[in-house]
Symmetry: C2
C-alpha cells in the first residue's frame, strides 16, 4: 500500500481550480491590457473586477454552482470574462457552437440545461425564433445590443454592461472539488445529433500548464511566451479556443479579441496591437494571405499555430515567404484539445528550406504528459519508422471521460483504456507524428493499410486530373481494394483513362512512396464528385454508390 | 452543488504520477544523453531500462509500495534513476542530507523507517559506524564501491551495478493514488532535531509543470528550455535539487551529473558537455569564479539560477562580466521548493546595467499558481509599494502538508491557512518580491519593521567597520530597538565610535533609504562576533547576551 499523506483540498494539496490561473498575472502584470476591437481596452485588474461583477450579476439571476450558463458570442473580452466567472462560481460554461443549425443549437441548449444565455446581437433573431424550444432558459442577457433589440427570453431586457455597471465586484468565489465540471460543449459527428463533452477544473488546469510547457519551451521559435501579444483566430466557442485564452491569462500577456473573423480586421489588429502569437485553421491563414490588405501589412515574426486540418506545404511556404512562423498542431474536441505541436530542431533548417517546411507541416510531437500511441487493431504499438500506419490513441490527464448520457459512444471512444482519435497516423524515431487519414477512410487491404489521402494526392498530381476521391470497396480476397473516382480536367476529358493513371502511379511505386498493392484496379471517371453541406467530399455517399454499382456522379 | 463528472483515476482523469514525466522524452528524445562525470554516458531509453531494473532489484530486496528507500550519494545518474524508480514503485525516496551530523543522519534514517540504503563509497565508513542505531535497515547497496569495501548492513555485499546487470528490466509499474508519498527528507531548523517533510506524486508533478512554465517562458533569457544542457549544482539530496532533474527529464534535454562539487570538475564538465543551464547557491558561484581554471573557461551564455541565499550585486556583477546569465530564485524545503524567480523585462536593460543587476538579484516573481502574499501580523496584505515589509506567506498546490508527527510545528507553519515562510519581504506594483530579513531577526519598533540585514549592509559600508551584526533588543517604549554590534578594522580600532556611525547612517536617512527611527542608539564595539557551527552570525546568542547585559564578545 502506498502511503497517503493528506486529503485533497486540505493544507498543501489545494485543488486545481481555474481561479488560481489569475494569481500570477494579477501580481505580476496588473496593468497589462485586454483589448476587444475598438470596443474595450482595460487591464487585468479590471478584468478581475469584471469577473467578480459578472458572477454577482449571474448569481442575482439565480445561477449557482452546478447550473449551466450558455454563451453565444464572437471572440470578445466578455467571452474571456465568462471563461473565468462562470466556472469560478462552480457553474458550467456552455460554449454554444454557432456553426450548428438552429435545430441543433436548440437541442444542445436544452440538453445542457442552460438557464441563462449570454447572447450577442447577431444571434438575437435566432434565439427569438428558438425560444419556444427552450423551456429551461429563464433569461437571456444581451451582449452589444442595438437599442431596438428585444430580449428573446425573460421578464425584461437585460444588457450585460448594464448588469456589470451596478453589480458588486466582491463576489465570494469559494473553493470546491477540482473534479467539478467547468465547461461543456457539443461535438459534431458525421452521424446523429451533436454529442456533449465536459471538462473539469482539474482537466483544464493541467491542460493549461502542459500547453504552456509545450509552447514556451521550443528552441527555435514556434513558441508562445511572456512578451508576446495574443489574438485567437479559432473561435472561443470551439474547444476553449484550443485552451490558449487560459494560457495567455496565466502568462499575463496582452490579449486582443477580434470579434467575428474578418481578414481586414484581423490584419488591422495585428498591426495596431502588435499581435505576435495566434492560432487558426488553414482556411483562415489562406484568407489572411489572400486579403487585399495583406500586401501592405507586415506579417514578419507572427507566430501562428495551425490546426483543425492539415497545414499544406504550399500554404506554409506562402506564409513563410511573408516572414510568418507557422507551425502545425493537433487535437480534437474530446481532448480539451491540445495533443501535439510541431517544432523545428537545428537539423530542420536546411539550406533549401524543404526539410523545414516539411517539419512545420507535421502533426508534431506530443505535449508534456501525453501518452500517445499508434496502434494496430489489436492495440499493439506499430513500429516507430515514420511509415507504418495505425490508429492514434492517447491517455493524458485532460481527456473527456466520455459523451454525456451516451454509454455506447463512450465505450467506443475509450475502448481498451485509451481514447481513440479515429485518426490514422505514423510516428518516427524522434516521436514526430503524422496524421495520414481518417480511420473511416483508410483502405485496409491484405492486412495492410493504405492512406486514401496519400493516393488522392498522388493521383491529383497528374496534369489531366481535376479532382479525385479514393475510397475502399469491399473485396472478397483482400478485404478492401482502393477505387479512385476521378474528374478529368475539361480539356482532357476524352483521353484520360485508367491505364494512364496506373502508369502515373507506377512511378511512385518505383520510388518507394507507395507499395504496389496500393495501385487501384478500378478507376471511375465522373463529371463531378458528391460533396457534403460544408463542401467536403462525401465519402460515405460515394462508398454506398460504388458498393451498389451506381455510377458515383453527382447530380 | 458543483457537478462532478468522474472519479480520479478513471477514464479522462488519470492520476498525476511521476512515471508520466518519462512519456514525452522517451518518445521525442530517446537518444538524448545522460552523463555522469567520466563514469557513465547513456541515452533516455537506457535510463528507462535502468529504472525498470532498479525497481526490480529493490523489489527482490523486499521493497514494495509504502516502504522507504534512502539514498546517500553525490549527484549522479544513479540518483536520477532513484528519483524515478523508487516513487514509481509506490515506495518513498528518502534523500539523506549529507551535511547533517552522524547522530542526525542516524536519527533521520530511523525516523523515515528506511529499509534499504543506497550508499556511495564515501559514506560507507559513516554508515558502518551507525549500523547499531539502524535496526530497521535490512540491506545497504553500494554505489561506486572500492573492491575492499565491506557492506555496512545486510547478509552480504550488494553492488548497485551488479544488481542492475542481472535484473529484469520489465518491472510492472502500477497506477495508484496521486496523493501517495513520493519523497521525504529532513529540514534543519535552528532548534531541535531535523523535522521531516513529505511530497506526493501530485505535488511533484504540479511543481514540475509550474517550474517549467516559470523557466521556459521568460522573454529575455533567464530560461531553461529545449536545446539546453542541464547540470545541477545544488545537491540532489537537497529539496529534489530544486525540482530541476524532473523538469530536465520532462524537457528531454541532455543531463550532466557532476558527482561531488569540485570547481575544477564543474568547469571542465561545463566546457566538455556544453552545459547551458545550472542552479546553485551563491557560494558555489563564487567558487567557480575564483577557481584557477575559471580564467581559461568560456562561461558565456551559461544560465544559472542562484538561490538558497541572497544573490549579492557584486557577485552578480562578476558573473555578468564573464557573460553568465545569473538570476535569483527563492524557495524552501517546505515548498518543494520553487516559489519565485526573477527575470528581466525590456525596461531593466538600461544603459549602465545598474537596473539590470538590481533586477537579477531580486527574489523574483511568483511562479504560475503561486498565491504569494506579504502580510502583517493580522494576516492583512501590506501595500505593494516595494517598501512596506511583512511576512511572506504562500498557498499553491505543491506545499508540504506539515512536519511528520509534529502537530505543533505544523500548526505554526500553516497558521491562518497559509504556509509561513518566516521570511520578511516587500513586493512592488509589478509583483517583484524582495526578501528583507528573517522574521526572527527583523526589528519591530514602534509598530514598524526594520530589516537587520539592511542596517548591517549600511553600517558595513563605513570604511572603518570590519564586521557588524544588528539585533533587536526589548524596549519598554518601542517594543524593540536595534542594537549594532561592531568589530572595527584593526587599524581603526581606537577611533571608531558610535557618533561616527550615527553620522554615517544620517546620510542614508537624508537620502530616504531608512527612516530616522532605524538609527540605533546603542553600538557595542567588540573584538569578534559569535558564530554558529556553519559560520553564520549567531544572533540568538548575541540577543541573549545583550539582553542580559553581558558583553557580546566571542571567546
Amino acid at each position: 500500500m502506498v502511503r497517503l499523506f493528506d486529503e485533497p483540498g486540505t493544507r498543501g494539496s489545494e485543488p486545481l481550480l481555474i481561479a488560481s490561473l489569475l494569481r500570477t498575472p494579477l501580481a505580476t502584470a496588473p496593468h497589462q491590457q485586454i483589448v476587444y476591437r475598438d470596443v474595450a481596452r482595460y487591464d487585468y485588474l479590471t478584468l478581475r473586477t469584471r469577473i467578480g461583477k459578472l458572477a454577482h450579476a449571474l448569481s442575482e439571476l439565480g445561477i449557482s454552482a452546478g447550473d449551466t450558463v450558455a454563451v453565444m458570442d464572437w471572440d470578445s473580452n466578455r467571452y474571456l470574462e465568462s471563461y473565468f466567472a462562470i466556472p469560478m462560481m462552480g457553474a458550467v460554461l456552455m460554449t454554444v457552437n454557432l456553426r450548428l443549425s438552429p435545430a441543433q443549437i436548440a437541442y444542445t441548449l436544452q440538453r445542457a440545461e442552460a438557464r441563462v444565455v449570454l447572447v450577442h446581437h447577431d444571434f438575437v433573431p435566432l434565439l427569438t425564433e428558438l425560444r419556444a424550444q427552450l423551456p429551461l432558459v429563464t433569461q437571456t442577457v444581451l451582449l452589444e445590443p442595438d437599442a431596438a433589440d428585444e430580449c428573446p427570453i425573460g421578464p425584461r431586457r437585460l444588457d450585460y454592461e448594464d448588469l456589470l455597471a451596478v453589480a458588486d465586484a466582491d463576489f465570494a468565489f469559494g473553493e470546491f472539488d477540482e473534479r467539478a465540471v467547468a465547461t461543456t460543449f457539443f461535438t459534431t459527428g458525421t452521424t446523429g445529433m451533436p454529442k456533449a463533452v465536459c471538462f473539469s477544473h482539474r482537466q483544464i488546469m493541467i491542460h493549461t500548464l502542459a500547453v504552456l510547457g509545450a509552447l514556451a519551451s521550443p528552441q527555435h521559435g514556434q513558441s508562445f511566451r511572456q512578451g508576446d501579444v495574443y489574438m485567437p483566430m479559432t473561435p472561443m466557442f470551439h474547444v476553449h479556443a484550443w485552451g490558449l485564452p487560459y494560457v495567455a491569462t496565466l502568462l499575463g500577456v496582452k490579449q486582443v479579441y477580434p470579434g467575428r473573423y474578418e481578414p481586414a480586421r484581423l490584419l488591422a489588429l495585428r498591426e495596431r496591437e502588435g499581435v505576435s502569437y495566434s492560432h487558426c485553421v488553414p482556411t483562415i491563414l489562406q484568407m489572411l494571405l489572400d486579403a487585399p490588405q495583406s500586401a501592405t501589412t507586415d506579417l514578419r515574426g507572427w507566430k501562428v499555430t495551425v490546426g483543425g486540418a492539415a497545414l499544406g506545404e504550399s500554404l506554409a511556404r506562402a506564409a513563410l515567404a511573408r516572414g510568418m512562423d507557422v507551425f502545425a498542431a493537433y487535437g480534437m474536441s474530446e481532448t480539451c484539445p491540445f495533443l501535439t505541436a510541431t517544432r523545428l530542431t537545428g537539423g530542420d533548417q536546411s539550406a533549401d528550406g524543404a526539410a523545414e517546411i516539411t517539419r512545420r507541416c507535421r502533426t508534431g510531437l506530443p505535449a508534456p504528459l501525453v501518452d500517445l500511441r499508434i496502434v494496430d487493431e489489436q492495440m499493439q504499438e506499430v513500429a516507430h519508422d515514420g511509415e507504418t500506419m495505425g490508429e492514434l490513441v492517447v491517455r493524458t490527464p485532460w481527456l473527456t471521460g466520455g459523451y454525456v448520457n451516451d454509454p455506447t459512444a463512450t465505450a467506443e471512444l475509450w475502448h481498451g483504456g485509451y481514447l481513440h482519435t479515429r485518426d490514422i497516423a505514423t510516428i518516427d524515431q524522434q516521436g514526430v507524428v503524422q496524421i495520414r487519414d481518417r480511420l473511416k477512410d483508410v483502405i485496409k487491404t491484405g492486412g495492410e493499410w493504405i492512406s486514401s489521402l496519400l493516393l488522392e494526392d498522388l493521383i491529383g498530381r497528374h496534369a489531366d486530373v481535376g479532382e479525385v476521391a479514393v475510397i475502399g470497396i469491399a473485396d472478397d480476397r483482400w478485404g478492401e481494394r482502393p477505387v479512385a473516382v476521378v474528374v478529368a480536367r475539361a480539356a482532357t476529358v476524352d483521353h484520360l483513362d485508367a491505364a494512364a493513371l496506373r502508369q502515373h502511379l507506377a512511378a511512385f511505386v518505383l520510388a518507394g512512396q507507395i507499395p504496389k498493392y496500393a495501385v487501384p484496379e478500378r478507376f471511375e471517371f465522373v463529371a463531378s464528385i458528391p460533396k457534403t453541406s460544408v463542401g467536403k467530399i462525401d465519402k460515405k455517399h460515394l462508398r454506398a454508390m460504388l458498393n451498389s454499382n451506381v455510377s458515383p456522379s453527382a447530380n
